[in-house]
């Protein structure tokens, strides 16, 4: 009897020691939340596997941090609450770095930057405008689709409010479907989903409209895309940033970008974090 109690106690003590905070931090999986429906950033294959630019990138980062990572797909709108509740350690998936988000949460350094673009049917005659003002006046009175909670929505709210009818979508795939069906006259998103869409056979009638909406031109749009995490996860952020510095310096980030986007979307190493 005494033996059993003693062995029980020792197991208990052992398990407490093993699950102590120091050990847990090194061994615990990094739980990565992502949208899984936003090509080429993050996408789900028909067999249910996650692929995409940021999945490849995150895998590389995890390798360099020597930590195992687990990916979970969840629609974007629920991701931030889930992150704050501690269900994820980091979110990736074309998330723009913005001052509002930085108030509550922390970002890794930016690793990609892409302009915002409008897309519409080739037959719409909206393409070929020389500057934003021309495109803006051509869009007046039209129905515009945009994914909610994105920088593109912010752009529409700031620049087109009251002049167009705005339809909000939960995800890019639904927006694509309605653009193809003609329920919206034009749609707006980061450049990448339009590249992905126009490459598919069913996206053939769609074209990307000029001009590009550059982040430099509208500085409220932020400085690019980063990984989003809680402010208390300082250790993970540092490790992630160091890995990103490595990937940027070695040119691996560039090659992942070219694999998924067909061109280089990567941003320069952060001078403060990478010491260059």
């Amino acid at each position: 009897m005494q033996k059993t109690i003693r062995s029980l106690l020792s197991t208990l003590v052992l398990s407490v020691v093993l699950s102590g905070p120091g050990v847990a931090q090194d061994q615990a999986e990094v739980r990565i939340g992502t949208d899984g429906g936003y090509l080429p950033w993050t996408s789900t294959t028909p067999s249910g596997e996650l692929t995409g630019f940021e999945i490849d990138l995150a895998k590389q980062v995890c390798d360099r941090m020597k930590r195992s990572c687990r990916f979970t797909a969840q629609p974007w709108e629920g991701q931030i609450p889930a992150l704050e509740q501690g269900k994820y350690d980091i979110l990736v998936g074309g998330i723009a770095i913005t001052p509002e988000r930085q108030k509550r949460l922390a970002f890794t350094q930016s690793y990609a930057n892409l302009p915002i673009n409008f897309a519409a049917a080739k037959a719409s005659g909206l393409n070929g405008k020389a500057n934003w003002q021309d495109l803006k006046s051509a869009l007046a009175g039209k129905t515009i689709g945009v994914q909610s909670g994105t920088q593109s929505q912010k752009f529409v709210d700031n620049e087109l409010k009251g002049e167009v009818t705005v339809r909000l979508y939960d995800n890019q795939d639904s927006l694509n479907l309605d653009l193809l069906a003609g329920r919206v006259d034009a749609a707006v998103a980061g450049r990448s989903p339009w590249i992905a869409l126009t490459r598919t056979p069913q996206g053939e009638p769609i074209e990307i409209l000029s001009p590009n909406i550059d982040f430099e031109q509208f500085n409220y749009l932020g400085v690019g895309v980063g990984g989003l995490m809680r402010k208390d996860a300082e250790d993970l952020r540092k490790a992630w940033d160091t890995a990103l510095c490595d990937l940027k310096a070695s040119g691996e980030l560039k090659s992942i970008s070219e694999k998924w986007f067909g061109f280089d979307v990567s941003t320069k190493p952060d001078t403060k974090l990478c010491g260059v």
Binding site: E77, I80, P81, E100, R101, R104, G145, S148, G149, Q153, R167, L168, Y169, D170, S174, L177, D178, A181, G182, R183
Partner: protein, 251 residues
């Protein structure tokens, strides 16, 4: 959340109440029409008609409303020939799609409510009416229907509340009703708990008014001797019991 944000959120949500109410207000009468047709068809003497109506009720009660909405909105729009047809004028509009999907679904449920109401009519009452020389139509209008409506109303009031709540699914196809606006506000302000508690409160208040109004209607349709007090207090409940005992005795 600071006062300014709270006021902004409250203002936006207040505007969206009308969209929610409009969805429910258009859906419910249409659902009633579909249910009436289905109930009529299910009692028809033609087997084919009965079969079609039963299949409709079975199918739309069994498939989740969200799936029905998606099939109608995203699924049907895949066909180019349909987009070229006049039906597209209706299906192009997200509000119309939401109303069609919801009313067809509500119709199937309401048909079951009607079936239950009709089944609860005592056969003796119908026979008595026929024996008094009332035509089948008059029997239905003066005896069967009033009793059936009274019996079906509690279940139907449930259906009304469910329909009002299911309008929240319309936001998945870009109709900016309460829940849709709330999701948008949430991504703007990140104040998840605050925004959704406000939304929950609004739904609660709308449904409280609805449920109370329906109870008044139920009471109004109930014969006086069967009426129960609106607010069941201890003292009054016993007096009503006595009253109904007396009423039953005098019958």
């Amino acid at each position: 959340m600071d006062i300014e944000t709270a006021l902004h959120v409250a203002g936006e949500l207040a505007g969206a109440i009308w969209v929610t109410l409009a969805l429910a207000a258009v859906t419910l009468p249409l659902g009633l029409i579909f249910a009436g047709l289905a109930t009529w068809a299910r009692r028809s003497r033609y087997r084919v008609l009965r079969g079609v109506a039963s299949a409709y009720v079975l199918a739309f009660r069994s498939v989740p409303l969200l799936v029905q909405i998606f099939v109608l909105y995203y699924g049907v729009s895949q066909f180019a020939w349909l987009r070229a047809s006049p039906v597209w004028i209706l299906l192009k509009d997200p509000f119309a799609c939401a109303v069609i999907a919801m009313s067809v679904c509500a119709g199937a449920y309401t048909a079951e409510v009607m079936r239950g109401g009709l089944a609860a009519v005592p056969q003796g009452a119908i026979e008595a009416a026929r024996a008094l020389g009332l035509s089948p139509f008059k029997t239905f209008l003066l005896v069967t229907m009033p009793i059936a409506i009274r019996r079906a109303l509690p279940a139907y009031s449930n259906e009304i509340v469910v329909t009002l709540k299911s309008t929240s699914l319309a936001c998945t196809i870009t109709v900016m009703e309460l829940t849709g606006v709330a999701k948008d506000l949430m991504s703007q302000t990140f104040a998840v708990i605050e925004v959704f508690c406000m939304v929950a409160l609004i739904y609660l208040m709308i449904n409280m008014v609805l449920i109370f109004a329906l109870r008044l209607i139920e009471r109004w349709l109930t014969p006086r001797y069967q009426r129960k007090p609106l607010f069941a207090g201890r003292g009054r409940a016993s007096s009503v019991k006595q009253h109904s005992v007396r009423a039953a005795a005098s019958e």
